[in-house]
């Protein structure tokens, strides 16, 4: 195996027990990430990006069950670890920042104390004074001005951008080796988005940290990541270096996604949209969950056993399609 591999998700399937019965949300998701690499996971809303991240970290809702697969981190299968071992890994080796920074922070605890909570969880030997100093230092490292004063702020006293900085400070407090950023800029204004993304990127580079950026914005992915995995309805359809993807997307869905991405000079009216809707996962699904929306669908698409395979002889360009472009 590749010793440089940091995270390998293999055939991960997740189902939710709901009122309407069992919903198979993730279907054999495969992802891999090398040390220090930046990977983007893109896909429409509801395509299972967050669920993938939650499953890898072991923070799925109680209704969510991992029905098959492996999550290898640094050679260890995370799904086989005890809850206690997994807890120690989270926050220390694997960290995550979330979609809505405001609600992701404890509303009635000072932000400085929330950073201290993480430090305390992973460095039991630290004294209270050391922790406080480290928390203030951590606030300074995410470029919050006047960190000693902001230590005492409550989330509701801070702007969304500030809250996201605090989330980043919490996530990076123990210098993790992998950071999963789940749409870290939704709900922020455009300038703040750029500032936050630059900050994440810069800190990741500085610590040599591998990053997974979850987004539905291909442009954002192109700006900050070297590789993109495209997800649709709980399946990974294409996984390729960013340049390959923009030059020669092989999956019809990726092609549509690129066409639907706003570019300078194209007005909103001209922007292509992806026809159809995400399939209703409560119903049984065909092997390719995109086939119902696909204009290149052929009879072979209904055959079982769809997997992510290298496209022609390019080992870094993976695709799950029976009739690629």
């Amino acid at each position: 195996m590749n010793t440089n591999l940091l995270l390998g998700v293999q055939n991960l399937s997740v189902a939710f027990d709901t009122r309407h019965g069992r919903v198979a949300v993730l279907d054999n998701v495969n992802l891999h990430l090398h040390k220090g690499e930046t990977l983007a996971i893109v896909g429409e809303s509801g395509s299972g990006k967050s669920v993938t991240a939650y499953a890898a970290l072991g923070v799925l809702d109680p209704a969510g069950k991992i029905t098959s697969g492996k999550v290898e981190f640094d050679g260890r299968n995370l799904l086989e670890l005890s809850p206690q071992e997994m807890r120690k890994l989270r926050g220390r080796d694997l960290a995550m920042i979330f979609q809505s920074p405001r609600t992701a922070l404890n509303p009635i605890r000072k932000v400085g104390q929330q950073i201290e909570d993480v430090l305390q969880a992973h460095n039991p030997g630290m004294s209270g004074k050391e922790r406080k100093e480290a928390a203030i230092e951590q606030l300074a490292s995410v470029k919050i001005t006047d960190p000693a004063r902001r230590y005492n702020a409550y989330p509701y006293e801070l702007s969304g951008g500030m809250c996201q900085r605090v989330m980043i400070a919490i996530a990076l407090a123990c210098k993790p080796r992998l950071l999963i950023a789940d749409e870290p800029t939704t709900g922020l204004d455009v300038t703040t988005q750029v500032v936050i993304m630059d900050l994440v990127h810069e800190l990741a580079q500085a610590h040599g940290m591998a990053t997974i950026l979850i987004t539905h914005d291909l442009r954002l992915a192109a700006n900050y990541c070297s590789r993109v995995a495209v997800m649709h309805a709980g399946q990974v359809l294409e996984d390729a270096p960013i340049a390959n993807l923009f030059k020669g997307a092989r999956h019809p869905y990726t092609k549509r996604l690129i066409a639907a991405t706003p570019k300078p000079g194209i007005t909103l009216e001209k922007l292509a949209s992806i026809p159809g809707q995400l399939p209703d996962l409560r119903q049984p699904q065909p092997p390719c969950r995109f086939s119902a929306r696909c204009d290149r669908c052929v009879p072979e698409c209904a055959a079982p056993g769809l997997t992510l395979v290298p496209y022609s002889d390019n080992a870094s360009h993976l695709i799950a399609c029976r009739n690629p472009l």
């Binding site: 890994l89 989270r90 995550m96 979330f98 979609q99 509303p107 009635i108 992973h122 919490i170 996530a171």
Partner: protein, 341 residues
């Protein structure tokens, strides 16, 4: 910050004046509208018409209602709630003497309900559909179904009459004990301070059944609120991010989830406590408890106006103070609670 707390207290106390005044007016009117003539009651069954008139004159009941009310208000302004015809003592004195008995019972009842209800609700929320969740549901529904005085009677029947475990429901102490030296008026605390453990045991034995009666009533809303609040909080984003940061389970449950649940729970506690003050009237009667509730009930039967008016007014004042304390505690827990609200 201290200034705003002070402002809150001041504003709330001033804001309570109109409702307290309304309480004074309404109780005054209702007492006089109720059937029953105190003059006839006190003159005795065999008294002649003149004798009754004479008593009426002595009691000041021959004045017009408006004059009577004016005199009552003037006395109240000086802290005088009038005199009880039954005990012959000033109502303020009677109430102050009996209040500790009621408060000790009510607070102990609430304490039992909190000590059981909060962990129960919390455990039920963390393990939905487990046996503890079902136990929680059973207790909360049965607590609502049974009238409190009935629960009290059933407890007496089982634990005093059938099993003989509990002492006779005859007040705060058994016949052989005398009250401890008066410090707080709470027998448990006073006897503990002076180290009179025999009295402590006797007081506790007497307290247990009525306190459990009240606790059974208070348990239901507390456990239900804790469970519901906790379930909501456990599903929120910040709990997931706390998990993702690798915080220990205990820290997540207590420091993150429980503290965020506490706000509605404390509001419920305030509500429950004010219900308990009302329900006390019946429970005190059942257990012959010498508190303000049984005092008011006896006065009501005797058409003794002043004690009933005094009782209702004290409960209203307690209620105002209680809500103030609840708001202060909430603003301590949650920085977002507007102190101005």
């Amino acid at each position: 910050m201290q200034n705003s707390t002070f402002n809150l207290i001041l504003r709330r106390l001033i804001g309570a004046i109109p409702s307290l005044f309304a309480v004074i007016v309404v109780t005054f009117m209702v007492m006089r509208l109720l059937p029953g003539d105190p003059a006839a009651f006190f003159a005795g069954a065999a008294a002649s018409a003149e004798a009754v008139e004479q008593v009426r004159h002595q009691l000041g009941l021959n004045e017009s209602l408006l004059t009577q009310f004016w005199i009552y208000l003037k006395d109240l302004a000086q802290g005088d709630m009038g005199k009880s015809f039954t005990t012959g003592q000033p109502v303020t004195h009677d109430l102050m003497e009996r209040l500790p008995a009621s408060l000790e019972l009510t607070l102990l009842g609430l304490l039992i309900a909190i000590v059981i209800g909060l962990p129960l609700g919390m455990l039920a929320a963390t393990r939905p559909n487990s046996w503890i969740d079902h136990l929680c549901r059973l207790l909360t529904t049965s607590g609502v179904c049974l009238p409190t005085f009935f629960t009290g009677l059933v407890l007496i029947y089982i634990f005093y009459y059938l099993l003989g475990w509990a002492p006779a429901p005859m007040g705060r102490l058994d016949l052989f004990s005398s009250p401890p030296q008066d410090v707080t008026g709470f027998y448990l605390i006073d006897s503990a301070i002076t180290g009179e453990w025999a009295i402590f045991r006797s007081a506790l034995a007497q307290l247990i059944l009525p306190a459990i009666t009240l606790a059974l009533f208070a348990l239901a809303p507390l456990a239900r609120m804790t469970r519901a609040g906790m379930l909501g909080v456990l599903n929120s984003d910040f709990i997931r991010s706390a998990k993702a940061a690798g915080l220990p389970r205990r820290v997540i449950l207590v420091r993150y989830a429980l503290r965020n649940t506490l706000l509605p729970v404390i509001n419920t506690m305030g509500m429950v406590l004010s219900y308990l003050l009302g329900i006390n009237v019946l429970v005190e009667k059942v257990f012959a408890w010498p508190g303000i509730g049984s005092y008011a009930l006896e006065a009501l039967i005797a058409s003794d106006y002043a004690p009933v008016q005094g009782f209702v007014l004290s409960i209203a004042v307690l209620y105002v103070l209680l809500n103030l304390v609840v708001d202060l505690v909430c603003s301590l827990i949650d920085p977002r609670v507007e102190r101005a609200a």
